[in-house]
Amino acid sequence: MSKKLAPYLIAAVILVAFPPLLQSYYLSVVTMILIFGLFAMSLNIIFGHTGLNSLGHAAFFGTAGYVTGIAIVTYGIKSFWTSAPLGILGAAVIAAIFGIIALRVSGVYFLLITFALGQLLWTVAEKWYSVTMGRSGFVGIPAPDPGLSFLDFGSPVGFYYFVFVVFGVCYYLMACLHRSPFGYALQGIRERESRMSALGYNVWLYKYIAYITAAIFAGVGGILYAHFNGSIAPSHIGFSTSALGMLMVILGGAGALWGPVLGAALIILLQGFASLLVPARWPLILGVLFVIGVMGFKGGIGPHLVRIVVRAFSHGSNQGRRTV
């Protein structure tokens, strides 16, 4: 047990101790990684675990960001404990509606319908000017106000810790979900739907709940992002962000829980360097990266990394497999 917890403890210590020492630019990169890591993990609930290829997951990320922003700026709801649940509720409601439509089909049709629904929402965000401020995005979203006075959440370090705690809680919840009977049922559905029905599982209901759950976690990411950026734009609802999330999951590896976080870290770090060195070439780099990732590291970079680390540290051939 302690052996299993060790990597998490090390990661937590690093994430708590070092960021305050970083320059504010690098601190913002780490913050971004946690936010998009959360988003990619949420996508992995349906994409990796349940086997539903959604290309419209940013719809929930963006909707939650917009709803929170509108609640705070337009309606003056200051407390994070009210504005954030509203954002989450927004994402959940949209998912509840989209799920009923998209889950009537599967496979590539599911992909296309989620894509279309995401673009639909993107259009709404862009055209409904009186509410969303249109194409340039909804601006003026302040730092979160959770009513705790010991930290200044407006400062980069304060906000970082805020994101870190939210990320940690969400990670823990998703880890529980993954190992729970519900989580295993999702994996069973991914592998053999008909058998799951024969065993007494209501497959549709599971997919529906998983879809909404994933939307809720994506929504949390979107809310953090809206606070982080101070704004949220139609592109955060649309295809580009959805596809970015999918790249993160595929590149990092859908198998392990932390795989998508690794994918997010990789893409955001590279994006950062690319924007400094060759700003106009980012899409090209992303494309090449994706091809290499898919062709060279089947199942994502995560599992390959684990194998290298295990080989470096192990002195026996003890292949520990997961035991129930």
Binding site: S180, P181, Y184, G188, E191, R192, A198, L199, G200, R321
Partner: protein
């Protein structure tokens, strides 16, 4: 006391009549074996019984209740379990994970998103018992794709029993097994609790005549003979079909 009763089941695939006005009933404790040449519609019939395929006509009653329009998973909750002809397990999960999925299937715990699936010690004990019964306990941490075909077939049946079914549908339980494995499967079926109703589709004549107390012979989707094993063995039409000397116009 009847376990399952079907009346006038019909199923067409385009112009092909796969199931043609099939009616029968199995009582509790009954052991019905369905035989017939390849393509006689045996698997289709199974898919109609458990709700995997929608009916074109007819009715299905489970323990006296009309379940014709009940989806698959709800029939499972009424006590029906089935195994699949083509092994239908969860290949990336371990043997024990497969078993735990089957054990949670009919319990409210299947919706629990917080508790670890391995922490349900009562279910784990039951899983251990079932896996031991099928000599699979030592393989519990192996992924399905790593165990042999025979072991997969055994697990296939073990998963059905996890639900404590009152009606068990076994689709070719002995297919692809070695002689000794067949023997073990037969023994296992014979040792099932006597009040369970069992319907089996199989080609293995030892198994068919060793287990059945009633046999149905299916040909081109129709029941051409029904009776005790002795009656079926003496049935002229059955001999005809199995010898291959019939007109082949579908109305033999």
């Amino acid at each position: 006391m009847e376990a399952i009763r079907v009346e006038g089941l019909c199923k067409r695939f385009g112009g092909v009549v796969a199931t043609n006005n099939v009616s029968f009933r199995v009582d509790r404790g009954g052991r019905l074996v369905i035989i017939g040449p390849n393509g006689a519609g045996k698997s289709t019939l199974f898919n109609l019984l458990n709700g995997q395929l929608p009916l074109d006509g007819g009715k299905v009653f489970l323990f006296g209740e009309d379940v014709t329009h009940l989806p698959l998973h709800k029939r499972a909750h009424k006590g029906m379990a089935r195994s699949f002809q083509l092994t239908s397990l969860f290949p990336d999960l371990t043997v024990m994970d497969n078993m735990m999925l089957a054990l949670h299937g009919l319990r409210p715990s299947r919706f629990n998103p917080f508790r670890s699936t391995g922490s349900y010690s009562v279910l784990r004990d039951k899983g251990k018992e079932l896996l031991s019964l099928f000599d699979l306990w030592s393989k519990r941490d192996e992924q399905i794709k790593m165990i042999s075909y025979g072991e997969q077939r055994k697990l296939e049946i073990a998963l059905c029993l996890a639900a404590d079914p009152r009606l068990l549908l076994l689709d070719e339980p002995s297919a692809g097994l070695t002689a000794s494995e067949r023997q073990a499967v037969m023994e296992m079926i014979r040792n099932l609790p006597p009040d369970i109703a069992v319907i089996i589709v199989d080609h293995d004549m030892d198994l068919v005549f060793g287990l059945a107390n009633r046999i149905i012979v299916l040909h081109f989707g129709q029941i051409i003979a029904e009776g005790t094993p002795e009656e079926i063995q003496a049935h002229p039409k059955v001999k005809e079909v199995y010898m291959g000397i019939e007109e082949g116009n579908g109305n033999a």
